[in-house]
Amino acid sequence: MDSPGIVIGFYMMAGLALGSGTLVFLARNLLHALAFLVISFLSMAGLFLTLSADFIAMAQILIYAGSISVLMVFAVMLTPLASRDNGNTIYVLPGLLAAGGIATFVGFLALDTSWSGPATDFTTTIDLIGNLLLGKYVLAFEIASVLLLFALIGAIMLVQTSSSDQEEGEADD
């Protein structure tokens, strides 16, 4: 039996994550959807804490709720003439069907399988993750850093405007 705090925390965080995720879909304004997305990310970080994943929860708050949402706000603000409407395409019905199918499938499998194994409690995961990252997974770690460098360079190269590009754009208009 878990402590009641964990049970209450799990249901609160799960409800908040799913509820604000639904509101991302339903919100009329794109910026409101973004705000609900941040709430969803934060409550997912709370769920990670109930799984005793302290480092990942902090990384989630820093990377998702912090930087990726700021990046999205920048993208919304840098497209001022585009519509702020969070409208649906004609593919919304197949999308909803796919979503329901996936959720039902995973839920059915999770209910149907008899899961074994006790829960493992980590007092801290940071030193273990650090040892694995610089030991067993050092090659993947280096490749991830190269990927981030190329993403940085690629993003800068995509959005930079050289003077000749600008003249071309004006000639097009």
Partner: protein, 116 residues
């Protein structure tokens, strides 16, 4: 009666997997059904978050304790997913700004340059 009580109040792998599948499904619905490119990005981030939750849940409730893989390997996988998600978001948002500059819209229904 006690079974139902245990099902509700004994938080296990099953509960986390159900939440993870639902968040992934929500992300799918948003990614497939939204018109704005930025909203589609939001859906993809939600899908990644759902899969991260499943990885962490399996790391806390290991099913095969005899294997020599450590218990925090799932956490390391999540670190890689986070870095790839950050890179992907940066490039995709740069792309949407670029498309906006050319076409003055990020509406995916109206970006039909490659349709014949």
């Amino acid at each position: 009666m006690t079974e139902i009580y245990e099902l509700i109040f004994e938080i296990g792998l099953m509960h986390y997997l159900i939440v993870s599948g639902s968040v992934f499904g929500l992300g799918t619905a948003i990614a497939l059904g939204k018109r704005s490119a930025i909203a589609v990005l939001m859906g993809i981030e939600l899908m990644l978050n759902g899969s991260i939750l499943a990885l962490l849940a399996f790391s806390r409730f290991p099913q095969n304790t005899s294997s020599d893989a450590g218990l925090v390997d799932g956490h390391v996988f999540v670190v890689f997913i986070l870095s790839v998600a950050a890179a992907e978001a940066a490039v995709a948002l740069a792309l949407s700004v670029l498309v906006y500059r050319k076409r003055e819209t990020v509406d995916l229904d109206r970006i039909n340059l490659m349709r014949w």
